[in-house]
């Protein structure tokens, strides 16, 4: 065991370093990831150590980044693309949805595209427009992609390595406002022993109600559980981790016990991931539900100006309010 205390950002940096060390076919590509180390410094020092043939500052065009990654993958490379901010993934949407997602299917398994598309996502950092989006539902609705979100340094470190090692094309969401939060990371635990990439995880067992979250909202959900623990309400908190495919067995187990469920995300509720999770839970746990699965989410507006984001974003109070409401049904 070599347990270090790392920020989530640094954990990702270490994970990327490990991946670059492990496999010479791994490449990092993106805007400003070289000397600058990325606007969030997630690739800090990597170009210096692995060279600009492996850590590549690309021209400024996201479709180009992902489109050339497809070609590099066909050639046998394992590109890891950084999208600078969530709101800038859309120019690459066509390449992701029509090419990255479909290539394995249309080639009847003959072409694998082990591409990881890293996207810092979500709000809470006081940014200007287009820098606080939560586009995960678009990708989770796209068959052929896998989608994951990490929520803490330890997961960040292992999940990024697992994603790069996987032959599935993966959209990898990073909770940007948690980049600076610290946690313990065992940097020597073998990857093979890690919690599987596409598996949810119960972070806090509880008896009374189930709270589901992923990415930045996991901390919020845990805080909510702590806040009500003293009042004698015992919340179970599950980090979904894999958004596509969903891993809901642990969720069903939980909801069958608690009968109450709240799902939290920053993306607008309509058509968000919470809808899918709620629909599935309702189908599988219908007779056990004491109340409908409630969603705490961003409102159905564009992401607002920074000085309104505190109200826009789900917080501890809104989570607790929803939990309360599941009791009043």
């Amino acid at each position: 065991m070599a347990v270090e205390t790392l920020t989530l950002g640094k954990a990702l940096n270490n994970g990327l370093r490990r991946a670059l060390e492990r496999d010479p076919k791994v490449l990092l590509m993106g805007e400003d990831i070289g000397k600058l180390g990325g606007v969030f410094r997630i690739t800090d020092g990597l170009q210096k150590d692995f060279g600009d043939e492996r850590v590549i500052d690309t021209p400024l065009a996201e479709s180009g980044i992902v489109g050339t990654a497809v070609g590099l993958a066909i050639r046998g490379y394992r590109p890891v693309c950084e999208i600078q901010f969530d709101g800038f993934v859309y120019p690459a949407f066509d390449q992701i949805v029509s090419q990255v997602a479909k290539m394995h299917y249309r080639s009847r398994g003959k072409v694998r595209l082990p591409i990881v598309i890293r996207i810092p996502f979500g709000g809470g950092i006081g940014a200007v427009e287009h820098h606080s989006e939560s586009p995960e539902a678009y990708f989770a609705h796209t068959a052929g992609l896998k989608v994951v979100a990490c929520s803490n340094p330890s997961d960040a470190y292992t999940m990024i390595q697992q994603a790069i090692a996987s032959d599935d094309p993966i959209v990898f969401f990073e909770p940007k406002r948690r980049y600076w939060e610290k946690g313990e990371v065992d940097t020597e635990a073998p990857l093979s022993a890690a919690h599987p990439l596409h598996a949810a995880r119960v972070l806090r067992p509880g008896r009374d109600a189930t709270v589901l979250a992923y990415g930045p909202m996991v901390r919020t959900a845990l805080d909510a559980a702590t806040a009500v623990a003293d009042d004698g309400r015992d919340l179970e908190v599950i980090d979904l981790r894999t958004l596509s495919p969903l891993d809901l067995e642990p969720v069903y187990d939980s909801v069958r016990r608690t009968g109450r469920c709240v799902i939290v995300h920053e993306a607008p509720s309509s058509g968000g991931l919470g809808a899918e999770v709620a629909a599935r839970i309702t189908e599988k746990c219908f007779s056990r539900l004491e109340a409908p699965v409630l969603r705490v989410a961003g409102f159905n507006t564009p992401y607002p100006a920074a000085r309104m984001e505190e109200e826009y974003l789900p917080d501890l109070d809104r989570v607790l309010d929803a939990v309360d409401r599941t009791y009043g049904w």
Binding site: L27, E53, T58, P59, A61, S63, G64, G67, T68, A69, V70, G71, L72, A73, I74, R75, G76, Y77, P79, P91, D94, Q95, S98, Q99, H104, Y105, R106, S107, R108, G109, K110, V111, R112, P114, A143, G144, K146, S166, D167, D168, H198, P245, L246, D247
Partner: protein, 377 residues
């Protein structure tokens, strides 16, 4: 307040003059010289090119017929573009990689690939589904322009692999159409190829149309000129001249493999038929235009050349026709016997590593299908 005199900026708006192109064989079958390009084929090789041209046209006609008979869902004919495809296709060296659109049946044939390979896509029994690396020929790409970025990325990989420099280096050819030149992706591919000095030849078949839209809807200057502004050379070739198409492509690929970076070839040609079998070109173009291009037919001129040079006799031409007919018949038979996929196959190969949710969905579907067994439903 002030006056600005302006001679360099502004202007434009005038129609471009009919541009020059590289030509080595006139429509009448005259061999002409070009200061920069030439070919030096053996008699056998000249006859081989003729054979290629005739066969790819014949196979194409067969596919069109198969579509008319309901055996293919759709077909994108290469009629009129045989020389551009055979010329460029034969110019590829074995180690080179091609990224086609949906129309490069002639290139595919010249790569030595069985023409049945893409027909599953057009019949609707699969979506292509071949291994690009095994054939050095990527799957057909339908989303306009997308493959040019893939090709560029692949070419960047060649450089990373240390496979440029010297005559045995590798190079890539990316096919696209005149319409595709307007897509952001194609222009981004130009940026990347230039910045990374990628060993790639962008081969644009300007067949004058993007479905119904004439080339004037995409550009007001010749397309090959696009390259210079991205920092690499471009040239125009008579795309109905198989010799010139060969010569310029070979030279560009060799330059690329030797580390000289990307280039753009605009093959000036004409789509003699419909865009696809779903299209009706009589709605948007006049018969006389077609007639004018008939006179520049890519096969006729090679036949005239072989005749004049006495490189081939009637027996040869008959033999080629017979071979083309045989290959077409063989193709037809195999199309007709292509098995339909089993419904459950729709769940195959979504992910390399599978997905438990999808496995469950497949199992449910199988149960559902089974529930009809024995019923009249």
């Amino acid at each position: 307040m002030a006056k600005g005199d302006r001679t360099k900026a502004g202007g434009g708006g005038t129609a471009p003059p009919e541009p020059e192109f590289v030509q080595l064989l006139t429509p009448d079958g005259e061999r002409v010289a070009h200061p920069d390009y030439t070919v030096d084929f053996t008699d056998e090789e000249y006859r081989g090119l003729y054979r290629d041209l005739v066969i790819v046209r014949k196979l194409d006609a067969e596919a069109t017929a198969l579509q008319r008979q309901g055996e293919l869902g759709i077909w994108a004919s290469l009629l009129g573009q045989e020389a551009a495809q055979v010329g460029s296709g034969r110019a590829l060296r074995e180690q080179d990689m091609a990224f086609p659109t949906y129309r490069e049946h002639g290139v595919l044939y010249c790569r030595g690939i069985d023409p049945i390979m893409p027909l599953g896509l057009f019949r609707g029994v699969n979506q292509g589904g071949w291994d690009p690396n095994a054939f050095k020929f990527n799957m057909y790409t339908i989303v306009i322009g997308a493959q040019t970025l893939h090709a560029t990325g692949y070419a960047m990989g060649i450089t990373k692999d240390g496979r440029v420099g010297g005559g045995d280096g590798e190079a890539v050819i990316a096919y696209f159409g005149d319409g595709a030149s307007s897509q952001g992706d194609v222009n981004e591919a130009f940026v990347w190829a230039s910045v990374f000095n990628a060993p790639i030849v962008f081969f644009c078949q300007n067949n004058q149309y993007a479905i119904s839209e004439p080339i004037e809807r995409q550009t007001r200057v010749p397309l090959y000129q696009r390259a210079a502004g991205f920092g690499f050379p471009g040239l125009r070739v008579d795309g109905n001249d198989v010799l010139a198409s060969y010569a310029v492509t070979r030279a560009a690929l060799d330059a690329a493999r030797q580390g000289q970076g990307p280039s753009l070839i605009e093959a000036y040609t004409y789509r003699m038929g419909a865009h696809t079998t779903s299209d009706d070109p009589t709605r948007y173009r006049i018969a006389s235009e077609l007639d004018a291009w008939q006179a520049k037919d890519p096969i006729k001129r090679v036949r005239a050349f072989l005749d004049k040079q006495q490189l081939a006799d009637e027996a040869f031409f008959a033999e080629v026709d017979a071979q083309a007919q045989r290959e077409a018949t063989h193709l037809r038979e195999r199309v007709l016997s292509m098995p339909n996929p089993h419904p459950e196959q729709l769940f195959d190969n979504v992910y390399p590593h599978g997905s438990p949710l999808l496995d469950a969905e497949r199992a449910e579907f199988a149960d559902y299908l089974a529930s009809f067994e024995g019923s009249a439903n």
